[in-house]
């Protein structure tokens, strides 16, 4: 099993870098500081009450951390020449990408899980009301969300031959889909309403539906939508409370996240197969 050897080596390589340990420390620090701060202000703190503000922060930093960990996955080996060592061995180019994706996924998920687990122990010790299902569920959702960016970074890292272009494309994607997207989403609806005074009849979808579609297209939107369902005890439930996405929409959001993992990898694989190294 060729890709397993690569994944093992890649994770071993990553775990010897200060980056991984630094990130674990950052996660632990962020969660601990927020917990301690909230515990100081709010007397009846619950673990879910900690995650709510944390979630706003995570939407922005998880993609950046995933990019930081993964963008060099293939392109750095290409630049340093270690790719020639790797591909002198009986590994296919597809094995390299799959192995790298797994190695970097481990390097991303491990600090996240440790970073969330240590403060959880602290919360339990301090007697904070702990909701384990929501807490663990949130770690899972955040992991999948982060993995979309790990896949995007790994895919582009294989598809492009310069480190600079990989990073530039990734930050461009981050900016458009993670920051600009919600502004565009809201602004376009507001603009259409302002211009035509009412939602035009020729639009195939209602205002709410249009905003939903916009939200579904962005990984951050999918993450937000599923997190909201989870925290309303309605994740994958047939009956949902007012304002929470329906089961069909939740499933679509899940599939969209998986598509954001699969498509960049497929793009990377196709481009990398054809490349002269």
């Amino acid at each position: 099993m060729s890709w397993q050897a690569i994944a093992r080596k890649d994770f071993m390589d990553a775990s010897r870098s200060y980056l991984l340990w630094g990130l674990t420390a950052v996660f632990v620090l962020i969660v601990s500081v927020i917990t301690a701060g909230l515990g100081y202000i709010a007397p009846n703190l619950t673990s879910t009450g900690v995650i709510n503000p944390l979630h706003i922060l995570f939407q922005y930093i998880i993609p950046l951390i995933a990019i930081l960990i993964s963008f060099g996955a293939v392109v750095d080996e290409r630049t340093s020449g270690s790719l020639k060592v790797l591909l002198s061995l009986p590994h296919s180019r597809d094995d390299v990408i799959v192995g790298k994706m797994l190695g970097r996924s481990g390097a991303f998920v491990l600090p996240l899980v440790v970073g969330m687990a240590l403060p959880a122990l602290g919360m339990l010790a301090a007697g904070v009301t702990f909701e384990p299902l929501k807490y663990v569920g949130y770690i899972l959702l955040a992991s999948v969300f982060g993995l979309t960016y790990v896949a995007l970074a790994t895919g582009l890292s294989a598809a492009l031959s310069s480190r600079f272009r990989v990073l530039l494309s990734l930050l461009g994607f981050y900016f458009v889909f993670n920051i600009l997207w919600f502004i565009v989403n809201t602004a376009s609806v507001v603009l259409i309403l302002a211009l035509s005074r009412e939602w035009p009849a020729w639009m195939p979808l209602s205002v709410q539906e249009t905003r939903r579609v916009f939200q579904l297209l962005s990984p951050t939107g999918d993450f937000q939508l599923l997190k909201q369902a989870l925290f309303n005890d309605a994740l994958y439930a047939t009956q949902v409370p007012e304002g929470v996405a329906s089961l069909g929409t939740q499933v679509t959001a899940t599939l969209m996240l998986l598509a954001w993992i699969a498509l960049p990898l497929a793009f990377g694989i196709v481009r990398f197969r054809a490349a002269d190294l």
Partner: protein, 309 residues
């Protein structure tokens, strides 16, 4: 059976033609020296054998299999020292070997391999980020030896090695060949090739301009010998002497150092040259002849090819 077979191999990078229709056969069990100046296309050829780059036209067959369609199968039976490689700075020498052993599903002992290339137990557990070029080269050679490969492809293996390292490398090439491995290695350092190779191919500007045994090449080459003449006289006398010799042997065949002319010529011309020198103001004090080393054969081939173009 043939270990490597290239047929009409052509590779273009944009407007640049790196390989211009190369045909080459390397027999199984041979030590084949792939010679040529830098930029001749040696590494491009090797990169095609390993499927790092794809030919524009023609085909390459390695160990009886197409280099593109069966690359993994080929690489599982081949040990490689690639050109322009990099190691994983954060991993130790032992971890590098363990990864190769793991990847090739071999059962070598990493320490035995390190010992073979002259790296000690201390170096084994050191991260390769701190390795000198010579140590890196020894490690990558050890990695190429994992799993007793049928074919060794070594691209400029002596790069960065001190004379002891280069000697060790040649010894290992011989040992591997005695074990039954075919060895294909490229070099622009000719002395290395001369002492270990059965057959040599010379590549120039993307064309294979010669392929023969070392002795065969020496015979076939018009460069039969070198004439070393010690002359006396003033600088202008010596200049006149050089001009007289070049009238016979052509330009760039004479080098001068401290009143000693070294002339690359065919043996038939020896007397003509000495007679011509006698008729100049310079005096011939002594002369001797040397048969050409592969170095001169190589120079003779590559410069002759340049003149033809």
């Amino acid at each position: 059976m043939t270990a490597i077979e290239l047929k009409g191999l052509r590779k273009e990078f944009g407007d640049v033609v790196a390989l211009d229709g190369v045909d080459l056969t390397v027999e199984e069990g041979e030590v084949f020296g792939f010679l040529g100046p830098n930029g001749a296309g040696k590494s491009t050829t090797i990169n095609i054998l390993l499927d790092f780059v794809r030919p524009t036209d023609g085909s390459a067959t390695v160990l009886g299999k197409d280099s593109r369609a069966h690359s993994e199968a080929i690489r599982s039976r081949t040990g490689v020292l690639p050109e322009g490689y990099g190691l994983y700075d954060r991993l130790t020498a032992r971890q590098h070997l363990e990864f190769v052993i793991d990847s090739k599903e071999a059962d070598d002992d990493p320490m035995a391999l390190l010992d073979r290339v002259g790296l000690d137990a201390e170096a084994a557990d050191q991260k390769t980020g701190g390795f000198s070029k010579g140590m890196q080269q020894r490690l990558i050679l050890a990695m190429a030896l994992v799993g007793e490969p049928e074919l060794l492809i070594l691209d400029e293996p002596s790069t960065g090695l001190d004379p002891n390292g280069a000697r060790l490398m040649r010894e290992i090439v011989r040992e591997e060949n005695e074990r039954g491995a075919t060895v294909f290695f490229s070099s622009h350092i000719l002395d290395q090739v001369e002492s270990v190779c059965d057959t040599v191919g010379i590549l120039q500007d993307g064309n294979l301009i010669a392929k023969d045994t070392i002795d065969g090449l020496r015979e076939a080459s018009s460069t039969g010998m070198q004439l070393v003449v010690t002359v006396g006289g003033s600088q202008s006398d010596i200049d006149t002497a050089v001009a007289a010799v070049e009238d016979i042997t052509g330009t760039d065949t004479v080098s001068v150092e401290d009143g000693t002319l070294t002339v690359t010529c065919e043996s038939d011309d020896k007397m003509t040259i000495l007679n011509a020198l006698e008729s100049t103001p310079a005096t011939v004090e002594d002369f001797e002849t040397e048969s050409a080393s592969l170095g001169e054969v190589f120079t003779s081939y590559t410069t002759a090819a340049e003149v033809e173009q």
